[in-house]
Amino acid sequence: MTNNLVLMPILIPFFGAILLMILPKRIYLQRTVALIFSILLFLASLFLVFYVHKNGIMTLNIGNWDAPFGITMVGDMLALLLVTTSSIVLNCVVIYSFYTIGKPREKFLYYAVILFMMVGVNGSFLTGDIFNLFVFFEVMLMSSYVLLVIGGTKIQLKATIKYLLINVVGSAFFVVAIALLYSMIGTLNMADISQKIAALDGSGNYGMISVVAVMFLFVFGLKAGLFPLYFWLPGSYFAPPIPILALFGGLLTKVGVYAIMRTYSLFFYQLSDFVLPLLGILAIITIILGVIGAMSYYDLKTIVIYNILIAIGVILFSVSLMSREAMTGAVFYLIHDMIIKAALFLIVGVVMAITGYSSVKKFSGLMTVKPSLGWAFFIAILGLSGIPPLSGFFGKLLIVEGSFSAGMIVGGVIVLLSSLFVLMSLIKVFTRGFWGGKQGNFNLKIPYRKMMLPVVILLSISILYGVCSELMLPYISQAVDSLIDPSIYINAVFKE
């Protein structure tokens, strides 16, 4: 039986984007079509999650060419959970864009580019072919270049040049890494690569595999913002308007994290003497630098951007442990982080729309004007730092447990301390901006309720995710199964 359904998360936004290109550039038409397709995408990916939960990993050999020879799409639980999460973020960002992005941008194919970016993101999650992963990365990156520069303000142009240069270099390295791997292994199908690398154990080429592993770490680390390759991230993410930033902060870096999780659990899981510790150390340094960045600013946007780095570090640290517990924590935390980061950025957007600034030195007493905004921000902060009933708790608990049981006491303690600093960095701006006497010019003419709708949706999903972690556990442990045991993934692709 052929499972074309697994392609739906790619085909739906693709068709939507094409329609938006062809249809006349009337704003209401564009908005309606974009919203319809993002809702369709959400429903399709939700359906796929339940389908895969019931029937196991879905694979599709495109064009009916058998597994190692054609391109295989693999819908395993991890990929589909991430696809669903990113479609939730997409829906909220699209709704938020209606009221904030402005008509000039909307007329310039804004929604079409967003949907093209979703094609890239979903394709990167679902593909089972390393070169196809590269192509989907490029689809995602091209759209992100356009989204970064759309509008053409000075700061955006500056940031885009940096971002473009970095990513072009990164992509070139990706191609070189694939070329090296192909010259040794002779295949591009990820399941097949995994088998062949495992069969290589002990032969002369084995040392080169770690070179490829480090190159992949370089490439994906560049996309994900891992130390020492995160230097482009704070500047570039500061430039675009808030809805685009929420999309970037929620999705782009996480695709890099997913790619590291996938390749390291599938290809390089035996390289525990060098490559995995390297990943762990880099992740720990990323956490520390992210904390330093987050503590040292009074600018809401920059603080949340540095919090992205901290989360990347925490997730990748637990990936480097390669134990079941830590991986479960990593997947839990990854999904939580995508939702909460998008919510935080959207809240920052509302704050900026009201006060006109993102730096809390320019205003205070926002709580007296908009108490609901203050409480939403407060809940988001608690969720982000991992206070028990909320969503960040369970993932981090598992990560810390995993690191202690693996004997990584220092790493575990740093993850714990990082939570404290995350809380502190945001509470600091919370007390300064929201409490106190009323200062600064507050513009209350914005469509506040409409802008808060996506924030409320994201926050309630995040709270539900925290409260119902028990319900999510079977799905997440199914996702972790194929990460811990590559043979599940390989058998699904080759179907015996």
Binding site: L7, L11, I18, G63
Partner: protein, 140 residues
């Protein structure tokens, strides 16, 4: 002083036509010989670029009268639609179908839905190239 480029324009009239025919040849040759949608698209865009050089953008635009962004979209639709043929016939996405047909003059012709995909590539390449050239050429 306005130069009179009558030579350039008359040569363009002939040469652009030949280039266009050559791109058509490349497009149809793709399955068995070097060629295909991408080169054919570039060559066609080359023919139109030659016309841009010989005449001004306004004249060429009124000659062609196409919205290049829409052309790109239609090309993408062709590519996606070719993939859907596979789904609608109960196979995997992008499964291609082919058949042999005896035509009166041409004889035995093999038809393949991969050509439709190539047509999509062709339209996208033409559309994107012309969009780039036009938008750079018209911005002051």
């Amino acid at each position: 002083m306005k130069t009179n480029d009558v030579l350039l324009r008359n040569v363009t009239k002939v040469v652009a036509f030949i280039i266009f025919l050559f791109s058509l040849h490349l497009f149809l040759a793709g399955h068995y010989n070097p060629g295909g949608g991408f080169v054919a698209g570039l060559t066609s865009a080359g023919a139109i670029t030659l016309m841009f050089l010989a005449y001004d953008t306004k004249t060429v635009k009124s000659m062609l009268n196409i919205n290049t962004i829409m052309l790109t979209g239609i090309g993408l639709l062709f590519a996606l639609g070719t993939g859907l043929i596979g789904i609608l016939t109960g196979d995997a996405f992008l499964t291609h179908k082919y058949t042999h047909i005896d035509l009166p003059i041409l004889g035995d012709v093999s038809l393949h839905t991969a050509t439709l995909f190539d047509l999509g590539v062709y339209l996208v390449v033409v559309g994107v190239t012309l969009t780039i050239i036009q938008s750079i050429g018209e911005s002051d």
